[in-house]
Every structure is written in C-alpha cells, then in structure tokens.
Symmetry: C2
Subunit: 528 residues, 2 copies
C-alpha cells in the first residue's frame, strides 16, 4: 500500500443540496495520480463474487408465486407493450397472486381518508369547515387525530419495535370481541404483513436442519422458502382433497413421530385457515385434532389466518385461539402447554392493502422471556411501517353502526364481498364443466386449486421440455390466453396429481371463457 495525497480539503459545500459537479473527478484525480510517487500501475486483483459465492440456502430457496410462469408473463407483458399485435391476447390476467388492488378491488374509502390525514394532518387547518366536511366525515377526522396521538407526533417517526401501543390495544379488543375470550396488547406484534411475522417466528424456532416445521401440502410457498433460507427441515403433511382439503390428526402425528425418529425436532406446525391455495375452511373438529398433537409433542402452532374475512359460503371461520381457549376450559390443565402464533394481515380480506405492508401476530402461551427475544428480533429491523400499522388498526376497528362513515363503508364492503363470492362460484362452475378437471367448492380465501388429470401425452410432453406437467399446462395457458397462474408443483401436492392455483380476483368473465376454450383445445391436442 502506498502513501496518498489528499485531493479534497476545504472545498465549498453547497448547503443541503447535493453537489452536482463534485470537485472530485477524473481530471483532478489524473493529476493526483500522476503526482503520486511509487504507485503500482495495476494492483493485484481477486475475482469478483459470482453465484457460486452466494449462501447456498438462498440459492436453494424457491418461490413459485413469483417463479418461472410469472416471469414469463412479465416478458410477455413487455412484448405486448412494444408490439400489441404479436400475441393472441391483448393483456396479461395476473391470476397468479392475491393482489386485489392490482386488479378490480378498490381500496375502502374510510381507510384511505384516515391515512391521507395521517400523512398530511395540516389539511384540517387549511380548509373552511364546510369545505373540509365535503372531504372527510367527522369520524374520519376524529380517528386520524386519535391515531396521531397514539403514534406520538408523526407517522414519520420510528414506533416502538413491537408496534404502536394504541394500535395493539385496538387489535386486542378486536380479538377479544371476535373470540369472546380476553386478549392482551402485550401479546400483539405489528409486523410488515404476515410474511414479516412468519420470518420472525421461523427464525426463532426453525433454524438448522435439526429443527423441523410441519407444513400443509399443498402449502403457501412462503413457508418452504423461509425454511429453506433458515436451512431448517420442512415436514410435509398432506391435506385431504376429497374431503374438502381437511387435516388428518393421525397423519400429522405420524409425520411428527417419523421426524423424531430421524432426529429432527418438530418445533412448529403451520396451519393455513382459510386455506391457501385450497380455499378450505377448517372445522372445529379438525382444529381440535391439531391442538391434541401440538399439546402431546410441544409443537408451536402457527395459525395463518390472513383470509379470515374471506368466507364465501355458509361455513363459519373459527379462530384457532378460540378453539384453544375452549379446550383449555373444558379440559382444565390438558392444553395449558400449547403455544399458538396467530397471524393476520391487511393484504387480504376486504382490505386488500398488500402494498401497504401491515399485519399482526398474537403470541399465545409464550413466556415473557420469549416475547422479549421476539421484541429484540423486531428491533433489529427497527419497526414496521407506521401507516401499515395504522391500517391494521383500521381493519380491526372499521366504522360501526351509527357512526357517520358506517353506511358508505358497509356498502363498499358488501360490494367487494359479493363480487368475490360471485366470481369464485362462476370460476368454480367453469372448472366443473371442463373435461379432466375437478375442483373443491371454495369456502374461503381468494383462490381455486383445481385438479387436472393430465394425460400421459401431456406429461411426456412436459418432461421433454424439462418442466413439471402442471407447469407445462400453465405455460400453455399463459401463451394462449395471457392468464398467469401458478402450477400446483410450486405449492407441492400429492405425487402424481397436478393442480393449478388461480385467484378469482380478475374482473369480467371473458378470461374465464378464454380459459375454457384453451382447455378444450389443450385436452384435444394431448389425448392419449
């Protein structure tokens, strides 16, 4: 290493702006380089980092929701933008991801009015009362003022890493009302969507190959991806398609036993209810069976309940916490060891505020020491976005009957609900009419997961292309119609079965018709 000269001393700084034409430049340095004595002309060099140098757990993680088919859709979208006539369709239908506001779903006005006031509270002082009243009903203004008091001063300040205390209390009140059982704001953590909660919990309990996590098959790929990043062991248990994707406690216990025999600790178990991608809603019976296994083996239950508002039939959603509390009361002492993490999110349901990144987790049955570790982990990423936290508060405490915004809010909610319900049954009927396709009736969530009994010819064709058979079907569907879905192989499935996950969020019915037409053609072209 050689001595150097300072090229920059005491140059004028131009205030808070950036210096566009920095005084450090090729010309100035050329001068300095020439003035330096003894510099080696070309120093020693090591090769740059390549994919070979990357953490292999990151390399191995797969995330199908944004995998090969969606990437192909992106490139077709670009092709359409440049040359609209070059493809047999005019637009991409993004049925691959539950992203309601990318498609037809409008944000709830009450939420957005309150959050716009949190961003710009000055507006209340800038307008005459009669003009202000045109924009915001009194409960909007009151809510925003209460929430600003909760955050201290500004949504631009870091909050407590666990989340704003006032918002956590609103969540606790919501849970208490939903379940008829007490809830404590100290057990609530506000996170960046449910995925933020999942990352925290799995990092705590499932890291390293000796630690396992039971995941339902089919599953939401976030879980396998996060476990892969943590180099933890995924322990799959299968949902039973024929009985509406129900869980089987016997089979779950077998998975647990077999893991233990192999030296893998079954530390946690994911339950997705309502189901993604299955659309199923678990019965109280099913949930009780899960807790029985959890109690017996000391397994943390992760209840992914982000679709709890998305019910489209007469089957009721029952929270896992409610079932746990009932079990604890009816069999005193028997379930008091059970630990439950319940997740919720503003991304789904009638809110659909995916891009705003809000969610919560409730920790049930954990010691204060464990909660302190969760808090430390949360503090390393400082806090989740404060407006996302505010939207959690708004989601769990919408306008109530008698409040000024109630009627409009109800109207908007009912429209969204009816529209989702209508489209889910329309799409379900379409699948029932297709040759070789069967599909469970959707009860909740935003997805259908039809089973497609692909022919040997189709399977052979897929293999020749180096693709999973259902991935081939999805690719052909995309290239013929612009409909982007996710192959069942991305969610895992019973070997030898093939599925496709599609949302029913896309507006209109034309795309459903074009899917039907595609399917007929595909089926004919691949008959054995």
């Amino acid at each position: 290493m050689i001595s150097r000269i300072a090229i920059l001393r005491n140059v004028q700084r131009c205030g808070p702006k950036h210096c566009v034409n920095c005084s450090y430049s090729v010309t100035s340095r050329q001068f300095s380089v020439n003035a330096v004595l003894g510099r080696e002309p070309v120093p020693a060099k090591a090769p740059p980092k390549t994919v070979e140098d990357i953490n292999k757990f990151v390399l191995n993680a797969k995330y199908a929701v944004r995998g090969r088919i969606p990437l192909l859709a992106e490139s077709l979208k670009e092709q359409l933008a440049q040359n609209p006539e070059s493809l047999p369709f005019s637009k991409i239908i993004n049925a691959n991801i539950g992203n309601p506001q990318q498609l037809d779903q409008k944000p709830l006005s009450f939420y957005r009015q309150v959050v716009s006031l949190l961003q710009n509270p000055e507006i209340v002082n800038q307008l005459a009362p009669e003009d202000l009243a045109k924009l915001y009903k009194p409960d909007v203004i009151e809510r925003a003022q209460r929430m600003l008091k909760d955050v201290g001063r500004s949504v631009g300040a870091y909050s407590n890493s666990q989340g704003v205390a006032g918002f956590r209390q609103t969540v606790a009140d919501f849970i208490a009302k939903r379940d008829g059982e007490p809830a404590n704001a100290n057990d609530i953590f506000l996170t960046s969507g449910a995925s933020g909660s999942v990352a925290h919990v799995l990092q705590l309990f499932c890291s390293g190959p000796e630690n396992g996590c039971l995941i339902p098959i089919p599953q939401y790929p976030l879980y396998t991806a996060t476990l892969a990043l943590n180099n933890a062991t995924a322990l799959p248990y299968f949902l039973d398609e024929e009985s509406g994707w129900s869980t089987d406690p016997h089979q779950i216990e077998e998975v647990v036993k077999s893991a233990i025999e192999r030296g893998v600790k079954p530390n946690a178990m994911v339950v997705i209810n309502p189901g993604n991608p299955t659309g199923a809603i678990l019965s109280a019976d099913n949930i009780e069976g899960i807790f029985e296994v959890a109690a017996k083996y000391g397994i943390v239950v992760i209840a992914d309940e982000v679709y709890q508002e998305n019910g489209f039939d007469d089957v009721e959603f029952i929270s896992m916490k409610k079932v746990l509390r009932v079990l604890q009361k009816t069999q005193p002492g028997a379930y008091d060891n059970v630990q439950l993490v319940s997740l919720h999110s503003i991304s789904k349901g009638l809110s659909g505020e995916c891009g705003q990144r809000g969610g919560y987790m409730e920790l049930v049955g954990f010691s204060e020491e464990v909660k302190q570790v969760v808090l430390k982990l949360a503090s390393i990423s400082l806090c989740s976005v404060v407006t996302g936290q505010a939207l959690v508060d708004l989601m769990v405490r919408p306008p109530r009957e008698g409040e000024p915004s109630y009627e409009q809010d109800q109207k908007e909610r009912n429209e969204i609900h009816e529209s989702l319900k209508h489209r889910s049954s329309l799409l379900h009927r379409a699948f029932q009419s297709l040759e070789g396709v069967s599909c469970q009736k959707p009860l909740g969530s935003m997805y259908l997961f039809p089973k497609i009994d692909l022919s040997k010819k189709a399977i052979a064709k897929a293999e020749s292309l180096g693709m999973a058979p259902d991935e081939y079907y999805c690719k052909e569907l995309l290239e013929a119609t612009g409909i982007c879905t996710v192959p069942g192989s991305g969610f895992h499935q019973v070997p030898g079965t093939y599925h496709v996950r599609t949302t029913f969020l896309a507006p209109g019915t034309e795309w459903i018709e074009s899917w039907k037409e595609f399917h007929g053609n595909f089926w004919d072209a691949h008959r054995d």
Copy 2:
C-alpha cells in the same frame, strides 16, 4: 387419537362482518365432549418452548440502540406518566436514536402532500379547483398523478419485488446527476429502509462462520446484530479517532490477511460514510485505499451512505461509486472486479421519514445472475411498502427551481439544515468544555460520539454493578436528567476507551445544560 364429532355444520354466516358470538363455545363443546366416546380425559403433554429452545444466533444478537439504557428510559417514561413528581426531570430526552420526527423535525410538506394524494386520489375530484388550489400546488398534483401511473393503479397493490420501475428510474437519474456517472434502474432495489438492504446483502454473502464481513469500530449495531443472526464472522477494523475517525487501508489489509489465515473468507466490508456513530466524512483518499484492498482480495464493499445529506461543515460528501468510477477510468482494468452496494434511506438527512420505511440499494459490478438471486430473496418478502418507495422517489427528486413548490420546500430544508448544524456545534462546544471529555468535530450524520476518560473509581463502581463503564455513565445520566443515550460499548470501541453516542436532534438547549451539570457532579463524585 379418537374419533370426533363435527359441531359446526351449516351455521349461518353473517356476511363480511365477523361473527361476534361464534356458535362454537364452551357450552356447545361441553356438550360435544360429553357426547364423545372414549376420549382420554387429559392427553399426553410435552413442555412448551422456552428461551432454551430458541435459535442461539437470535439469542446472541445484541442491538444496543434499543438495548438496556433505552429500555430503562421506557420504564422511567411510564413512571413519569403515572407520577410526574417522582423523578428529578419532567420528560425523557430520546437522544439514543436518530428518529428526527419523534423530536423537533417536521416532515417536508411537499412529500406529505404528494403521499396523502397517493393514499386518497379521490380528493382531486371532490373539491372545486379554487379550494383544491388552497391545498395543493399544481406540481404536487402532477407528481402524484405521475406516481400513481408508475404504480399501476393503487399504492395498495404489491409492486414488483425490486420496486416500482418508475421510481427506480428516478433514483438512477439522481445517482447519475450526483456522481456525473451513468446509473441504471435495473441495478436499483427499493427496500424497507437501509436495514432491509443490509439484511439482503449480508444474507447473500455473509452466512455461516466461514464467511466474514469487515465492520468499522465503532460501528452501527445493525451490522453486528445481522451478522450474529446469520452466524457469520464479524471482522472488526478500527477507525482512528485522533485523525477524525479516518480509515487506515494498511490496518484493513492486516485484518483481511489475518482472517484468511484463520480460514475465514472476508467476503464483504462495511463502510459507513458519513459515519455513524462517529459523524466523520471520509476523504477521497480514504475511499481509494478501501477500494484498493477490495480489488486485491475480491471483497464486496457495502457503502452505508444514508447520511449523505447530513453534512454540517465545509467538507464535501463524495459517493463511493463516484470514486470507484474515477479509479476505473484512470487505471483501466485495475478496478473492474470491484463490487459495490451503495445504500440510501428516507429515514435520515432532511427527510427524516424513519417510520415510513423507504430506502434503496444500488448494486454495482454484479452479474445478472447475482441480481436475479437478490430479486428472488426480495420476492420472498413480496415487496417493500409502496408509499416508502414513493418517498424515495420524492427524496431524490425534490421540487426544482421554477416549480411551484420549490420556494416553500427550500425554506423548510434550509431551516432543518441550519437547525441541525446549530445544535451539533452547540453540543460539540458543550462537550469540549467538560472535564475528561474530548469530542471530534462533527462533519456529518446526526450524532456526536464523545470520548469520556472515566476514572478508576467510576470503572470500579460500574464493574461492581455488572455494567460496562460507559453504560454506567449513561445510566447515571438518564436517571439524573432524563437524557437517554447509548454507551459506546454498544458500538464497540478501542479497548480501554469509553464513549457515549448522542444525537443532536432534541430541541432546545436546556437538556444540554442539564447534561453539563450532571457531568460535573458525576466527575466530582468519582474522582480517583
């Protein structure tokens, strides 16, 4: 496992609302339990998970910015709320964290007006033009409309996992202008603050004990905490306090060589410029020396440049990318292997929008394959909050001269800048006047990091309490004055030296006076 009866079939669902009094209850289940034949009264039970079961890397991670002293401050704050007379001060001064809007700093109006329109675009149609003009200047409305077009439809939709393409282009334009060197939107990733970027990069290149990362001492604890979570090896290099916390390439190379000898790969090196907690600004000389080592050993340079707007003296901030490009031009071929990740954030500078969680990283010198892995990693957490992404766009492209909002925006920026500069020099002068305290002149960032030559008596007292000596000083300061700071031990420091990190964000001068008074008393009470 026993057979079960279904208690819930075909109950009426009450539309999109939650069912407050769920039909699944203790009473209904009591009936069902009594009806079940053969149920074991109390099933087998395993113990619940405790701190012993938690991932030890999470347990070992430390995060001093929100560590013991700030936790004590939280409890004192609660005590004050309940009993205002019980302590010798009336409020807590949070000088422990760079959280400007928690204290005196107001958000920039232009940012907040645009973001409030992104949240509630309807407002433009709800007011007469003359009323609208009272609220928003034309460039605010235009900017919001452009940005809504960029996001597609709504800030409530997930964006591309890399970030909204239009916003990334704005960032690339900013970098190009700042450095006078081209920048590409495809190299930009929008992230949840800079901490989101750090988590991604370290997870890629620094995971497992065989992979090391050079970090400056003193350092920002995010880095040691994230490395601890990844079980990677932190490779400390010391900044030289006496020369204004400069870096020494010779010493850095020694650290690299010694790591290699121990079998640890020095994959990455963190450079914080302007410095946190030091407040130093690196010279071009210093930066060139760093790149020389990076080129020689193939080390990824992580340039934490989040304080690039926070300069308070006549020393210019020069981006590491600019220096790299100049080196590459003046010595063709010599530095073309260097890989750089440059971080920026909306949390600091004149924006101070910590709670809105926006930031970016620019990847320089990486292959397309590596960038695809970064994209996959980003996609597992779906996307960073879209309004945070929008604020990055606003930060890097504020109103320009001649645009309607320019004057007001400049006025606000100048006020913030002057106020920060004033308080930094006020606090610096105060430290210079204290016995046993020395403090480098602050050039940038939001912090002072005075060195306190604690007496043997103070050190012995701290040890008797099981505390680090500077932690003891901070605790005494907090308990006497309400001023919450972070002990230097949380940032690491040259052994045998003691420091305190304080922000200079708190308004007023009273707290500085009370610190001076405390220090005099502390010094007298601990004389050897």
